[in-house]
Symmetry: C2
Subunit: 263 residues, 2 copies
């Protein structure tokens, strides 16, 4: 329902990553799968999540005597250490093992280095396709004996930044994730409570806004989004200002909002 | 989410009846149960549905290591014949076995006869509490030897109508349900297709609008609501007029709408 509300086309979704088996993180999955079936999806759907998720999906389909008209490829996430779970031409996805009382993973999405673009202003005529390919890969132009003819930067535009996004929900405060998320462009870190509820955060394997900010600061990320707020907080400003006191580049997650990353 | 959207208070819900295990009929249940838990519900919740539903609920709670802070009382509906599944001072609920390829039940809610109200205009003074109780139960007033003193109607207002509501979704056209729903005040009957798709209705164990109307007419109900429309029908008027051709007192179900029953 949220996907429909925010005009996300179901047919654009080929990969779904589920962090853990608490209801607020996967109860919508079966509805989405059923809707894809109803709308005659035929291409594969890849689902990544805790091994038990596969049993839940299979048993619900079996009880309802439903046979999907597309292939659902399940990828069980069983490792306690970070693993590469997806890769294509433009990005990689790795898991971030989190601490939440039950098996739980965050995910980090990293754009691969982008090919350099030719600078049409400075480009001499008559360059071979081979040399253009060298330039796009970031290499210099040399003659048959290896002597420099053009430095790459003379003929290409400045390199485009590759962005990265780390999604960490739900987790207790855990410094082990810092090396995994270091320098990311954007970090989503759960912030269920404020510091007033720090003890409750520990008991329920959640974090406070301040703890999220400490992780962001120690990992030197560019920007932090706080989310997963307890319903007890009608006003989220205190959580935001608590985090900003530690790490200024912090914003509150809002459902349906798009965040544009810029260099 | 729909309950919240239409301002239905979760704490007013003590009994939930699930017809069958197709996703559009129960995928919201776990979310509702989790939300009740999150909002600190303590009173029992009664869930009635196909036996497999209990396994789904238990396994999802087990996988998530969740322990509800209220008691969930599950009532498996295993009978192939109608059964009384709930009764209190004001109503009864019986199942309506439906034909849908998997175990599926409709439900019929019947108000019990309502106590008659004393007519203050015609009531003589000095009546005993015993005699007033007799009047409310619809009995006449007699003397010690059984001779009539007042007929009940002289001292009470006209009896209030007891309403009944039958919910039948999903089902193929099935005349076996007619004796079970005869004379109900309101019948909800699925109408997934129009007559143009009658063959498809048979194959998928669904009904057409016309078939729903035939059931309504043969069962002599007061009013029919059509619902559970296939997404292929952008305009539902053809389904409505198809049904009205057979049974005039037909309306289309609209999400969130309340229907007031009047004599």
């Amino acid at each position: 329902m949220q996907l429909r509300k925010f005009n996300v086309k179901l047919n654009k979704i080929d990969h779904v990553m589920i962090s853990h088996l608490h209801g607020d993180h996967f109860f919508g999955l079966m509805g989405m799968i059923s809707t894809m079936h109803l709308f005659k999806r035929i291409k594969d759907l890849h689902v990544y999540g805790p091994p038990d998720l596969s049993e839940i999906i299979v048993s619900i389909l079996r009880y309802s005597k439903s046979y999907l008209n597309f292939k659902l490829v399940f990828h069980p996430l069983e490792s306690d250490t970070p693993e590469l779970i997806f890769e294509n031409e433009i990005l990689t996805v790795h898991t971030i093992p989190l601490t939440h009382g039950i098996r739980c993973n965050g995910f980090i999405f990293r754009e691969k280095p982008k090919p350099r673009k030719i600078n049409k202003e400075t480009m001499p005529e008559g360059f071979s396709l081979q040399n253009i390919a060298r330039l796009k890969m970031g290499l210099d132009i040399v003659d048959g004996e290896g002597n420099l003819i053009y430095k790459n930067e003379e003929l290409t535009l400045p390199e485009k930044v590759s962005f990265s996004y780390a999604y960490c929900s739900d987790t207790t405060y855990n410094e082990n994730i810092i090396p995994l998320i270091r320098n990311v462009s954007l970090l989503y870190h759960e912030s269920t409570f404020g510091t007033d509820m720090e003890q409750r955060a520990i008991e329920t394997y959640h974090s406070t806004a301040k703890q999220a900010a400490i992780i962001a600061q120690k990992a030197n990320v560019s920007k932090l989004i706080l989310g997963h707020f307890s319903v007890r907080y009608k006003d989220l400003e205190p959580l935001l200002s608590e985090a900003k006191g530690i790490f200024h580049e912090t914003i509150l997650a809002r459902e349906g909002e798009s965040i544009i990353l810029e260099h």
